[in-house]
Chain length 352, copies 2
């Protein structure tokens, strides 16, 4: 493996990121270790699995949640199994296929494992990649799960109208940067928050946000929101929960909408932060919708139709933070929860 | 006044419930005092006000909120003015009218003051009462604001379908008892919570709830909900917020809906209770809608059309807790926040 070509039937060394044990609190690099096992590059006879070479692995906030031991597991979520490789979204190339819809050489994206080669037992969840004139990495981002999430946030849940004020937290993250640009293209006044000055610069100068603030430098989030959204917020896309959500409630307009697709600030707390202003939901007659990409995959062809031209015409930009090598995966993943990433965090594996 | 007839132009003694000063924490009887002033029973010349004799005054949880000093008042809410009578919904009889749409003798319901006679300066908010074959008190309840609220909860916000599990907190209260019966008439499995065994008995035996529990006797609200709603909750009508909302989040089904029209448990707390499970909004893809009757008054003719036959055919029952005399008003109002009332709390004034 490594630099020489591999072929179906070869036995190869397969580097993996192994999950040691259930995590409470913040995940650390030491919650994982790197091992190498031997894998035969062949789909077992009679199986409809697909054997892939993983090219890009996606670091997503929900993965922290999958590291927990859940007493009452939510259906549809895959929890990590101690001693096994973690999994997540990725871009991969099919090497061997037992499934009629996939052939060797196909590029796909979907759920795969954090290892060089994966035998994917449920290939029906994979999507074939037909457009390769755009960076393949984008299929972990604006053409992947975060793209579906951002599309759902703006076009299905929030439906912000021209002139409305849209506020997005974690705005330079995988979903936020796309959602913000969608909202700008719809003619909204778009405000974002992020945790470094570079990210704020990016929001204002690359993504065209109308205003942005560094939440780590604001002693009073309510005041920051009042400064940036003086007439109130029509639509809030919440990625963080906690104190920010609480401050946003104070600044929502009557009949405002809030879409919640994550609460990254809360994932690694033993005790979630106090929400003081939940009562305003009733008094301001707000609508809050929790959502994930899961309910919107049927819209993917429509999303491609919208987003591919935006990418080609440079109407949408996407910033990716690409780290090379599986051995750097744990650090990249853990960095999501301290805001170390600058844009969408991706792990690139060496080509076979 | 009192037993003898009064006529337009008379000067009468007008008993009033006066708001002493802004309230923090729980309201107490001593936050009010009773006075008597002199009122001329005549609409001033050139005014389009309406002069009414108040017959029934409604005690509603939102009134606690109106007693606060708000730094950032919400538009549309009338905050009480220290030294003036409090106000709220009531049923009244027009004695004199400067408004073309109202005449002496008309029965009306709408916002009036806690006093015997009121000069209503904004009569356009009053609704004329045309159906008097049902108790007039009902126009403070299932034919008044709580009726509009319950209708909106079920037919506009929650839209529970036959066979779905509907949970209602404060279920024997002004809104809960109507909403529960609406949901039963739609074929839902309806569960309620309340704070005394008599209320639980009422829910199960009078209103036809499928199950009910006394939240004050349940050491573990999550366990109580799992016992009564073993397959999870499709729609929750929240009147209380706090711990109950938090436990409900654990028991919502995927894609469940929550309608919040009040959070009575939170109104009089300096620090609202911690919500631990807000993250489940995203993970379970729940929709939460805060709402009040205010957005649904245009549906009132439709509501009457639905509810009047239900009352006449005895398909819906409504339990009222009627207290006599303005001097007993403060105790009745304060009792709402300790659950002292048994059904819809109303204050009856002696007829003129």
């Amino acid at each position: 493996m490594g630099k020489k070509n591999v072929k179906v039937g070869d036995e190869v060394q397969n580097k993996q990121v192994i999950f040691k044990d259930y995590v409470t609190g913040s995940p650390k690099e030491s919650d994982f270790h790197i091992t190498t096992s031997t894998t035969k590059l062949q789909v077992p006879q009679g199986s409809n699995a697909v054997l892939v070479k993983n090219l890009y692995l996606s670091c997503d906030p929900v993965m922290q949640f999958q590291m927990r031991k859940m007493e009452d597991p939510l259906s549809g979520y895959i929890y990590y199994v101690p001693g096994s490789p973690i999994n997540g979204f990725g871009v991969a190339k099919v090497l061997d296929s037992g499934h009629a819809e996939f052939s060797a050489g196909d590029l796909v994206w979907g759920t795969t494992s954090w290892e060089e080669y994966s035998l994917i037992q449920n290939p029906e969840q994979l999507k074939k990649i037909h457009h390769t004139d755009v960076p393949l990495t984008h299929y972990t981002g604006l053409l992947g799960m975060p793209g579906i999430t951002a599309y759902a946030a703006i076009y299905e849940v929030g439906l912000p109208k021209k002139g409305e004020c849209v506020f997005i937290s974690a705005a330079s993250g995988a979903v936020g940067q796309i959602a913000g640009q969608f909202a700008k293209l719809l003619g909204c006044y778009v405000v974002g928050s992020a945790g470094t000055q570079q990210k704020i610069h990016l929001l204002k100068n690359k993504f065209g946000f109308d205003d942005a603030f560094n939440y780590k430098q604001e002693p009073d989030l309510d005041a920051a929101l009042k400064r940036c959204c003086p007439e109130g917020i029509d639509f809030y896309l919440d990625h963080v929960g906690g104190k920010m959500l609480d401050a946003v409630l104070l600044n929502m307009k009557l009949h405002g909408r809030i879409a919640i697709c994550g609460m990254i600030s809360q994932y690694n707390l033993d005790e979630p932060e106090l929400l003081r202003n939940v009562m305003l939901l009733a008094l301001k007659r707000l609508t809050v919708k929790g959502f994930t990409h899961r309910d919107y995959h049927h819209l993917y062809p429509k999303i491609l139709e919208l987003v591919l031209p935006y990418i080609r015409d440079k109407k949408i930009f996407y910033v990716e933070d690409i780290v090379e090598g599986l051995e750097n995966g744990p650090a990249a993943l853990v960095g999501l929860f301290t805001g170390r990433n600058f844009g969408k965090q991706i792990l690139a594996l060496p080509p076979q």
